[in-house]
Symmetry: C2
Subunit: 234 residues, 2 copies
DNA sequence: ACCTGAACACCGTTCAAGT
DNA sequence: ACCTGAACACCGTTCAAGT
C-alpha cells in the first residue's frame, strides 16, 4: 500500500500575507480586478477562501495590500531616476519621476481603479507624495504653492489620468456607418468635424486614434510649465 | 365583506424606464452607489427585482441610464450660462460652464465613480463634449490643439478630479498623537513640515483643511491659462 | 498556529409561469 | 403587455471545528 511519500508542496509553502498579496497582484494583472475574488485568490494559492482570513482581515485589506505592493514598485522605480537626474531642475526631475511611476502603472492597469476606492493612505503612498513635495520644495516652492501644485497634478502625479473615452471598440452596426455619420454630424458638429480632419490627415486611424502616452505628457507638461511660472512670479 | 375599494397606487403608476432611472438616481443620492442594487431599487418602486428587467436590460443599463440623467442635468445647467456669457472670451465661458457642471456633480457625489466605469458614451455625454469642443473652436483653437486640450482637461472638463486623499477622518488612536507625529516627521519630513506650517497659519484646521472647490479652480485656471498660451503661440 | 466545511446574507440574472 | 416566484451561480464573511 503506497503511503504518502512526499509532502504536498503546500506544506512546504505555507500561506503568508506576502504570498497572498503577491498572488493577488498576479491574479489582477492576468484577469483584471473582477476576477480578484477571495475564492479565486485562494484557488490560486491552493487553499480555501476562508484560509485567507487568517492572514488578511478582509477583502479591503487585500486591496490595500495590492496597492501597497504597486506603490512599492513605484517608489523603487522613481528612486532610480533620482540619481541620474540629480543636478536637474525641479521640472525635469518631476517629469522623469512621474513618467517612471506611469511606466509601473501601465503594468498594473487595474491599479488606478483601486487607488480611487482607497479610504486610507498607505505608508508607501505617503512616501511617494512626500517625495513629490520634496521635489517641489527643492525647486523653491512655498509650502502653500506646493500644496496647490499637488492638487493641480492630482492623479497625474502618480502617472495616470481618468480616461473619459475608452475606445473599447464597439463598431456595432458597421453597415449603416454613413447614415450614422450623417446623423452624428447633425447632433455633434464639432466632434464630427474633428474626426473628419483627423481621418483626412491620417486615414488609417478613424477611432482609437488617441495616443495615450502623448496626451498624458502633453497635459503633464502643460501643468508643470504653469506651476513653474507661478513659482517664479508668486 | 369589504372588497377592493381603491386600486393600489402601483396600478395607476406602472413602471417605466424613466421611473426606474429616476428612482435609481434618488436612491444613489440618498445612500450612495453601494445601496443601488436591483433588489433595493425594486423595493423603492414597490416592485420585485425581476420586474426591472422588463424595462432595463441589466444593471449596466441602469448605470448607463443614471449617468444619462445626470448628464442631462449638466447639459441643462451649462446651457444657462451660455446666454449671459455670450460675449465673453473662450476661457471665461469655459470656466463658467465647467463650474456649472461641477455644481451638478456635487449633488450626485457617486456620479464620477459611475463615469469611470462606463464603457460607452451616451448621447448626452457626447453633446457635452461636443460643446466643449465648440467653445474651444470659437476661441480659435485648431482641431488638433483642441483635441489635446480636451485630453489635458480630462475629467476636469466635467467638473471633477480624482481626489487622492479623501480625509474620511480616521483619528484612530488620538492619544499617542505626539509620538505618531514624531515618527511621521522621520519618514515624511516634507509632508509634516507642510502640515506644521498650515497648522501654524490656521490653528483650527489640522486635517480636512483642503478646500476642494478652491483647489479645483486653481488647477482649472492653471490649465486654461496654459491652453490659452498655446492657442496664441501655436 | 494554521487551515477548513458548513452556513449566512447578500449579489445579478434566467426562465417558466402568472395576470 | 407587464410582472413575479423559484432557482442558479456567484459574492464576502462568520463561526465552530479540525489538525
Amino acid at each position: 500500500m503506497a503511503t504518502q511519500v512526499e509532502p504536498r508542496p503546500r506544506d512546504r509553502n505555507p500561506l503568508t500575507k506576502e504570498r497572498v498579496l503577491q498572488a493577488a497582484v498576479e491574479l489582477a494583472d492576468r484577469g483584471g480586478l473582477e476576477v480578484l475574488t477571495m475564492r479565486n485568490l485562494a484557488r490560486e494559492l491552493g487553499a480555501e477562501a476562508m484560509s485567507l482570513y487568517y492572514h488578511v482581515a478582509n477583502k479591503e485589506a487585500v486591496l490595500d495590500g495590492v496597492l501597497d505592493v504597486v506603490m512599492g514598485e513605484i517608489n523603487e522605480a522613481v528612486s532610480k531616476v533620482d540619481g541620474p537626474a540629480a543636478g536637474e531642475d525641479w521640472k525635469t526631475l518631476m517629469r522623469a519621476r512621474i513618467l517612471a511611476a506611469r511606466e509601473v502603472l501601465l503594468g498594473h492597469r487595474w491599479a488606478p481603479r483601486v487607488i480611487e476606492t482607497r479610504t486610507s493612505i498607505s505608508p508607501a503612498t505617503m512616501r511617494y507624495f512626500d517625495e513629490v513635495l520634496g521635489v517641489l520644495r527643492s525647486g523653491g516652492f512655498s509650502y502653500d504653492l506646493a500644496h496647490h501644485a499637488m492638487h493641480a497634478l492630482g492623479s497625474r502625479a502618480l502617472g495616470f489620468t481618468q480616461e473619459l473615452f475608452e475606445p473599447e471598440n464597439s463598431h456595432e452596426g458597421d453597415e449603416d456607418i454613413a447614415g450614422a455619420m450623417a446623423e452624428m454630424a447633425d447632433h455633434f458638429p464639432h466632434l464630427t468635424g474633428m474626426m473628419i480632419e483627423v481621418a483626412h490627415d491620417d486615414p488609417d486611424s478613424t477611432l482609437g486614434w488617441c495616443d495615450d502616452q502623448f496626451e498624458f505628457e502633453f497635459g503633464l507638461d502643460l501643468i508643470l510649465a504653469g506651476l513653474d511660472g507661478l513659482r517664479k512670479t508668486g
